[in-house]
């Protein structure tokens, strides 16, 4: 979905100025926001009445929401296709261990710090991977995640190859732990969606979509392409750091393979691709779909993954807009209107 930009129509001369308007919000978008607020309230109340096992599942889903949203921002909007975002999941997870287990900081507060650590480490890492052109960037990020995995596996203080448990949570009662973890994960997933939505509606978002659609042209219009991409990379690292911290906060145990393993990447990428890359709704839809499928087909391990790989291939080649892209196009549905849409009004002659 391209950004529709208005000035061309005015420059073309014929329609007088009053005959078109630039639409930035839709009625449906407002409805979404209302639903958003209501569902948030509903979710927050869940620990008081819902089953603990459901809370755990929803916490996992919330982590996927954040990851999918952040990968989509990076690849779908920033044009930075990475196969190595598990680097920041791992950094977040291990930062949690360092803060909570070793430094004695409140583990729930530590999750927020995990995001900052990830963003901080993303600065030097970006200096390396940004030197790789296009498709090579993707493999470079993966190599970085491998390096981190090996470094951690060779560091005895972090538990080495066999990993370490989050013992800092012992001092909390089980129900407190589960409720607070759930609240943090719910806030993180809502915040990530809201953040991406507001970001894309801002000046920065306009620059981002412009770069996605035509990098050279946007540079010539004065957009600092390198800086914009760098910022997107940092934001994405922050989000992945938070979700990594959260995931292992609810998992209670971390190992280098679980944290930095490449098996994260197909999950996240396939969620976004199947849901619809380059939209806010797509990753959400993809994450829910993926989550449900994985619970239903858990027992068919290899065949399930084979099918998932095939679906990703088929969707990418023949339905590149994904599920949500199809819905949006077919029904002109935009739950999160981020683009500026030109609406032609009826002129005095009755013609648009």
């Amino acid at each position: 979905m391209n950004a529709h930009v208005a000035p061309q129509a005015a420059a073309a001369g014929s329609p007088p100025k009053s005959s078109f308007s630039v639409e930035r919000s839709t009625r449906l978008g407002t409805a979404t926001m209302v639903f958003f607020a209501v569902s948030l309230g509903f979710s927050v109340s869940m620990p008081f009445w819902a089953d603990a096992s459901h809370l755990r599942l929803l916490t996992e889903l919330a982590c996927y929401f954040v990851m999918a949203q952040m990968w989509n921002l990076l690849a779908g909007y920033g044009g930075l296709v990475s196969i190595g975002q598990q680097a920041y999941i791992g950094i977040g997870g291990y930062a949690l261990i360092v803060f909570a287990n070793m430094l004695g900081i409140n583990p729930f507060f530590s999750v927020l710090l995990c995001g900052f650590v990830a963003a901080l480490l993303a600065m030097p890492i970006s200096q390396v991977v940004f030197r790789l052109p296009g498709a090579a960037f993707a493999i470079g990020t993966w190599a970085v995640a491998e390096i981190l995995r090996l470094v951690v596996a060779n560091t005895t203080a972090l538990g080495g190859g066999s990993g370490v448990s989050l013992v800092a949570l012992k001092e909390f009662e089980r129900s407190t732990r589960e409720s607070v973890t759930f609240w943090i994960s719910i806030s993180a997933s809502y915040a990530s969606v809201l953040f991406v939505y507001l970001l894309l509606r801002s000046r920065f978002g306009l620059a981002l979509t412009a770069i996605r659609d035509a990098e050279v042209a946007s540079q010539s219009q004065g957009i600092d392409v390198k800086r914009t991409k760098f910022l997107v990379y940092l934001i994405s690292a922050f989000g992945f750091g938070i979700s990594g911290g959260l995931y292992f906060l609810s998992n209670l145990r971390i190992s280098p393979d679980a944290a930095f393993g490449v098996s994260w990447s197909p999950l996240i990428i396939f969620m976004v691709i199947i849901g619809g890359v380059g939209t806010i709704e797509g990753p959400l839809l993809g994450a829910v779909l993926f989550f449900l499928l994985s619970k239903v087909f858990e027992d068919y391990g290899t065949w399930y993954l084979t099918a998932l790989g095939l679906i990703a291939v088929i969707v990418t080649i023949w339905f590149p807009q994904g599920l949500w892209g199809f819905v949006a196009k077919r029904f002109d549905l935009h739950l999160f209107p981020v683009q500026r849409r030109l609406r032609l009004l009826r002129g005095p002659s009755g013609k648009p």
């Binding site: 790789l132 596996a153 990428i269 391990g301 290899t302 291939v313």
Partner: protein
């Protein structure tokens, strides 16, 4: 002292295998700006095909190679013409996701049919033969054969690129696919032929890999990363550079492993990062 000389020599020899993995990656990136994420899984797939030929049909490893290479060539051609040609664009997203999808499919099908057990291709005693060199230094016959093949294939690819009609078409489409098409080059065929060569080489590389060491269905990603690092260290667009990149990666891994077994692969990765930081175009970039 001798142990370091030995480490360097073993590193050079294993570097030949990395170069064999890397050539196809370099070829595909050079011509189509495409990175085949499934490249490492193709190495393992060919190793399993080799295993099938030797165990089920009783072929020797080199006879198996003669069967697997044409199969690999065919797989490469069909894969590119039927699937990957649809993903070529300036945006790397589509080709990356599609080849990543293929990687997952290949890995899981191998797991389903061959289980997660580690396997090896019997090479009839070749793996234990060695040639005594100066002092108590010895080089394995199999690693020497692998390295020799890497050098020969580098020469062959360089010749193919420089002195043949298809090589000229490769260079033309790489520079400007639109203009090449206007001059009568069939880009779809050229791309498919390039991938066919890239995967065809893996028919040789995969079987050598299976003869040299044990392998299992999930070993592909590591091979992809080694191949990728060899390409980047050597510099894109030059086959001799890729061979040199493989050798440098092999040497640093071997030296690292002598310092501490846990640090071998890591030191190879570190070399890759250092090259990116200080010579982002690689150590032997194509001068043009």
């Amino acid at each position: 002292m001798m142990i370091w000389v030995d480490a360097v020599m073993q590193g050079v020899l294993i570097g030949g295998l990395y170069a064999l993995f890397a050539m196809g990656l370099s070829l595909m990136f050079g011509i189509m700006r495409m990175v085949n994420v499934a490249h490492g899984d193709m190495v393992i797939l060919m190793a399993f095909l080799g295993l099938l030929m030797t165990e089920a049909f009783g072929l020797g490893p080199f006879a198996a190679m003669a069967v697997v290479v044409p199969i690999a060539f065919g797989i490469g051609y069909v894969l590119q013409r039927g699937v990957l040609n649809h993903t070529i664009s300036k945006d790397p997203l589509r080709s990356l996701v599609v080849t990543f999808g293929i990687s997952i499919v290949v890995q899981n099908l191998l797991l389903e049919f061959f289980s997660a057990d580690t396997r090896a291709i019997a090479s009839g005693g070749l793996e234990s033969q060695s040639v005594a060199l100066a002092g108590n230094l010895a080089a394995g016959v199999l690693p020497l054969i692998i390295f020799g093949s890497a050098v020969l294939l580098t020469i062959a690819l360089q010749q193919l690129f420089g002195n043949t009609t298809i090589g000229r078409a490769f260079r033309a489409t790489s520079d400007d696919p639109g203009a090449a098409a206007l001059m009568g080059v069939n880009n779809a065929h050229v791309y498919a032929f390039a991938t066919a060569i890239a995967i065809g080489i893996l028919g040789i590389a995969g079987i050598f890999h299976g003869m040299r060491t044990i392998f299992s269905p999930t070993d592909g990603p590591a091979q992809l990363i080694y191949a990728f690092e060899a390409v980047i260290i050597g510099g894109m667009g030059s086959f001799w550079g890729t061979l040199a990149g493989g050798v440098i990666l092999g040497i640093t891994q071997a030296i690292g492993a002598r310092i501490d077994p846990g640090w071998g692969v890591l030191l190879g990765h570190v070399t890759f990062v250092l090259v990116l930081l200080f010579k982002p175009n690689g150590l032997f970039p194509k001068t043009r």
